[in-house]
Amino acid sequence: MVAEHMRDMARDGIHGRIRNLAEGFMGKTMIQKLFAAHTAPGAPVEPGDIIWLDLDVRTARDFGGANVVQNYREHYGDTPVADPARTFFTFDLVVPPSNIPYANNQQICREWARTQGIKVYDVNAGIGSHVAIEEGLVRPGDTFVGTDSHLNILGAIGAFGQGMGDQDIAFAFKTGRTWFEVPPTMKVVLHGMPREPWTARDLTLAVLQRLGSDGALGRAVEFYGPAIEALDLAGRITLASQVTEMGGIIGFPISQTAHPPLNPALLPDPDADYAETLDLDVSGLEPLIACPPNPANVHPVREVTGKRIDSVFLGSCTNGRFEDFAAVAEIVKGKRIAAHVMATIVPATRRVYAQMLTSGVLETLFEAGFIVSNPGCGGCASGHLGMTGKGEVQISTSNRNFPGKQGAGQTYLASPVTAAWSALAGEITVPEVKA
């Protein structure tokens, strides 16, 4: 309490200026630098400080979108949003709508967007966070909010993305900003290189296993190490998306090789202050799987080998990239998935779908027996597709397996590679490694 009182005093008077001066010489983490660039000049950005954060892009999706419109109308009437050119709707969950309530909600958003001059990425576009990266709506160093709790995926390109509720987003549409508490940063250093072949998902599961469901609670995370440098954009997206399941605000893979490159002005200082540093040796990484009932219940795949599966889901904002499906195609080419297995693929975006189409990946997957749907979120929403029935066992590359989340069945979360080998075998299987 005393420290808090002193902080308040410091912020208010001459001491505040001294404190700012002192902090000007102290190293800053990535989130501190990013926030400092998006708030009043000189405002303190130490962990726990509350700042007004300028939001470069504000979005809503079909979940929460109609609620945003309702809140906006109730509080701001027919007045215009702060900046229509930086405000978007992205429909990605129930696409196209499979029931009337969602059709209604999407139409409410469409009509309101028209009156406001806001662009809608409609039911054919794909997952909002991925569309934002592909279409260049967000660049490294930007701030981006929406009604999607996995918007911290944008950490993969060194931008700040955050999911928020519909009141927050209505406020952001109108004002272009929101309040935010500067989170402490933790540093996760991954030592060593896993033996080939390995996947970003297994690396991510290894971090989840160590951190648990609340190991990063309320924190920003910076990831370091040679394995992080080796990740492509798809891999960084996989890692960044699961920071939500670690309880974190956002995770930044700090990579010198990233494309697009991280904003050099926002790279963390060598003497930045971290709440915690966690070292993890990943040189012995093996295929991992999150068993029910939660994403942090991570085990080696070999421990659950032989578990009969009824269905496979490949996609989601965590593993819905072209690279993920190309890896699956390589495994199943010329083969058929097990006769009793229903396997569904949902590309993240229309662009991913196009790549699958032109590269031949789509045909390979079709021939192997997969259902390939239009782009979107897939099984994370009751509505698009991919829900499980009671007693059904599913292996999925999605991001959550809480009880009842993806239906009444049991969901196991693993990499696309593990899921592909399991689809062929009809049971959970450790991927075969080519000699």
Partner: protein, 177 residues
């Protein structure tokens, strides 16, 4: 001014074995099959209906009741309905060892009192459903059955300001940059 101290009947969210639930996620609080709902009045009835043993909570709860849970309450999605369903039922406050970050924001922004009680599982006391709790938002004091005092975290400065303004929208009208 809104009340900064409240007294109410407590519900302690435990599983069948009597263990305090941790990691109650937003799909357990307000399942994604109801996410098309936009009217607050329709949200209350589905509260906690995907949390084992608590499916009938909406029928048992009364306005003014308090809820207690373990770590990371409200983890998962950003859906506002997972906060609004409690507001619809008139739940006066949620006390937990810790909260999911987005959930915390959503509750603060809509004026639903959240009390972080970091020492809940180590304070050695078994809170029971039916206990009467008095909670002071400014001091963080929690009083059990009028006799046993505990120290939880007080509201943060911004939490108190938004709570007193009513919600984020009202707060935004008065807040200076």
């Amino acid at each position: 001014m809104k009340a900064t101290q409240i007294t109410g009947r407590l519900w302690v969210l435990r599983d069948a074995e009597g263990t305090l639930y941790n990691d109650i996620d937003t799909d357990m609080i307000f399942h994604n099959r109801y996410l098309h709902i936009t009217a607050l009045a329709q949200m209350g009835q589905y509260t906690l209906d995907n949390l084992k043993g608590w499916e009938d909570f909406a029928r048992r709860a009364q306005a003014g009741d308090l809820i207690m849970a373990g770590r990371n309450f409200g983890s998962g999605s950003s859906r506002q309905q997972a906060v609004d369903c409690f507001r619809a039922l008139g739940i006066a406050a949620i006390i937990a060892e810790s909260f999911g970050a987005i959930y915390k924001r959503n509750a603060i922004n809509s004026g639903l009192p959240l009390i972080a009680f970091p020492e809940l599982s180590i304070c050695g006391v078994r809170f029971q459903s039916g206990d009467t709790l008095t909670v002071n938002f400014v001091t963080g004091e929690v009083l059990r059955n009028g006799a046993e005092p505990f120290q939880a975290q007080p509201f943060s400065k911004v939490q108190l300001a938004i709570y007193e303004a009513g919600n984020l929208f009202e707060y935004g009208k008065t807040a200076e940059r």
